[in-house]
């Protein structure tokens, strides 16, 4: 009997090269002055989005659960980090968002966030518990497919409305900003930002490695079985609810960690990050990059966001949403496996052409197969 029952699509050497490039080479080039602080800062942001995209793919591509609420978990992590950063500003007066509603002292729930370990614990626990409770209720009632998507969207919308309120004492629509230090390091220096970038890159590599292990285990088999035929899995004796709940919680925590690293790098967190558009945009990154793979979502997130920074300034700014929407439509129509599926797709087309040439004369004409050639412009934008 042969081994190797579990297939993996990612080639390890490419993965390791990518990891070394992101974790070691990029920051070294920055320290030596070959990459500007601005560029590295942008990449830190892209990588946070890449982690968010993986958390979506873990649910959508691997388990068949299209969650439109990942921006919520991302933002919650950001807010937990923001609370810690706000407490680190110091000074005698309370921030404006508190004085505005007549408070002269910090609300008591901010106090423990002075401790970084506590903040870190909350970054994991708050989204984890929210995902557990929400997932438990949704999966126990066997809410599936589009109903699950709508429900997660509603949850995100509700949470955003809540965070927009000044009375929540979480900064209202301005959110938290003007951060100074993190763990004693000045956030405005290049070295701190480089450190944050490295932390993000390391987290990304860890998340990819962890998800690769997860999806290659028997758990991964069950995950994909649930995606393809949930009823059959139930009749194979698995409690699909527990499995879905586990993935949902893990993915919520991963998104939250990404959000927590995002906030000190961009220097602000407010409820506009929590909207359903943000969740939908992240879903587009996953679709563009290639869902059901681990590097696909990261490539999608980086490509789209890099294109966005480039296109949303200057003359093309007004067309950005159109470009993104157009790219999404093209990918759905012509590249079902996204950017990472493109090489295989091109290969298949070439082989088909070759076969057609060979069988030009001797065999009777086969059924004409209408297969659109992949549009390379779809990968850009």
């Amino acid at each position: 009997m042969n081994k190797q029952p579990f297939t993996s699509r990612i080639h390890l050497p490419i993965l390791i090269t990518g990891a070394v490039f992101l974790v070691v080479i990029m920051p070294t080039l920055n320290a030596c002055g070959y990459i500007t602080n601005f560029t590295l800062g942008n990449w830190g942001k892209y990588l946070c989005y890449g982690i968010l995209a993986i958390s979506i793919d873990l649910l959508w591509g691997y388990t068949g659960l299209l969650c439109l609420g990942q921006a919520l978990f991302f933002t919650l992590g950001g807010y937990m980090m923001g609370m810690h950063l706000m407490r680190m500003i110091g000074g005698d007066t309370v921030p404006t968002f508190l004085s505005m509603v007549g408070r002269t002292e910090w609300p008591s729930f901010f106090t423990p966030f002075t401790s970084f370990p506590f903040a870190l614990l909350m970054i994991i626990l708050v989204p984890g518990i929210l995902a557990y409770v929400f997932g438990f209720l949704a999966f126990r009632s066997r809410i599936k497919g589009v109903y699950f998507s709508i429900l997660t969207q509603a949850l995100t919308y509700g949470a955003a409305l809540l965070f927009f309120r000044n009375e929540l004492l979480m900064g209202g629509n301005n959110g938290f900003t003007d951060f100074r230090t993190l763990l004693g390091h000045d956030l405005r220096t290049a070295s701190t930002q480089r450190g944050l970038y490295i932390a993000t890159a390391v987290l990304l590599v860890a998340v990819v490695a962890g998800c690769k292990w997860l999806t290659n285990s028997r758990f991964g088999l069950i995950q994909r079985a649930i995606r393809d035929s949930e009823n059959r899995v139930l009749f194979s004796g698995y409690s699909t609810m527990n499995y879905k709940l586990f993935v949902f919680v893990i993915s919520g925590i991963v998104a939250s960690l990404a959000g927590a690293l995002f906030v000190p790098q961009v220097g602000i967190i407010n409820p506009s990050e929590m909207t359903t558009e943000k969740s939908l945009e992240a879903v587009v990154w996953v679709a563009l990059g290639g869902r059901g793979t681990l590097v696909g979502p990261v490539i999608g997130a980086i490509t789209v966001n890099a294109a966005k920074s480039w296109a949303s300034s200057g003359a093309t700014a007004d067309f950005w949403p159109l470009l993104l929407g157009g790219a999404f439509v093209l990918v759905v129509l012509f590249m079902p496996k996204g950017i990472v599926g493109l090489p295989a797709q091109i290969q298949a087309v070439i082989q088909k052409l070759k076969r057609r040439e060979e069988s030009e004369v001797p065999t009777p004409p086969q059924k004409p197969e209408i297969k659109p050639t992949p549009d390379p412009s779809a990968t850009e934008a």
Binding site: S236, G237, Y238
Partner: protein, 265 residues
């Protein structure tokens, strides 16, 4: 464990499965109507009946896919009340099901399909850290041989022929080491030769497992029943039970089912 002996149970050996007074209606139509059904351990029981007789609904009730309006459904001499359990809990008692249309994991390889069906823990922890033992690998190799899919072990199940999918699904029941195999129309869509081989396979499993086979094909039913008890369902109710010859000569059966097929041999 406490034993609940049903009143209809008269001192024979304990029933593996006992259904009493089951009724299940869909929008007023009684798919199952006051059904009583008893099954001994080790039996190979064939259930026949015209379309709409409630055969598949009966399996749905046993496997927890749907719940009856009234009635009782007891497992293993009344030790377990199946009506209080959900799909995967019932499966874990050792009740496995092959669906009418082959239901395998199309995007998984044949090997992976069997791995997912292997008897053993169904917990998340085990799925993450549990290794496939060499015994289990041997077991899978045996099953692949039995279902004649050794050469296709690493192909995706989705590209298998219809008959092969049927066999794979039976193989999944074997991997599960189910006590009771519920086999819904195993011969559907198969060639005569495949049908015959499927019959042989089921016969070779009889005794080791308890089996309920639902089938339309009377040649097939004759092949596998071999004097064993056959149950005829009609309008959700047991019309009669007995060896296939007796059943086929029963006036009522001829009228509702066999007569229409003019196959009363």
């Amino acid at each position: 464990m406490e034993q609940i002996i049903s009143p209809l149970h008269d001192n024979q050996k304990p029933f593996l499965l006992a259904a009493e007074g089951l009724t299940r209606s869909f929008d007023g139509f009684k798919a199952i109507n006051d059904l009583n059904f008893y099954l001994d351990e080790g039996e190979l029981r064939t259930v026949i009946g015209p379309n709409g007789a409630g055969k598949t609904t009966f399996l749905d009730l046993i496997t927890g896919r749907t719940k009856p309006d009234v009635g009782s459904l007891k497992w293993d001499d009344g030790k377990h009340d199946l009506l209080k359990m959900n799909e995967y809990e019932i499966y874990r008692l050792g009740i496995g099901r092959k669906f009418q249309t082959p239901t395998v994991y199309n995007d998984h390889t044949v090997y992976e399909n069997l791995v997912l069906s292997l008897a053993g823990s169904r917990g998340i922890w085990h799925s993450l850290f549990g290794k496939i033992t060499s015994d289990q690998k041997d077991r899978i190799a045996d099953i692949l041989k039995i279902i004649k899919l050794t050469d296709s072990a690493y192909r995706k199940a989705g590209i298998l022929a219809h008959g092969q999918k049927q066999w794979l699904e039976i193989g999944m029941l074997l991997a599960q080491e189910a006590r009771l195999l519920l086999v819904d129309e195993p011969a559907a869509g198969m060639t005569d030769e495949e049908t015959y081989r499927t019959g042989e396979l089921l016969l070779s499993l009889a005794g080791k497992h308890t089996i309920i086979v639902i089938e339309h094909d009377m040649t097939f039913v004759r092949q596998i029943s071999q004097g064993r008890k056959v149950t005829v369902l009609h309008q959700g109710h047991v019309l009669c039970e007995g060896p296939v010859d007796k059943v086929q000569s029963d006036e009522r059966v001829i009228e509702v089912y066999l007569g229409r097929k003019s196959k009363a041999a």
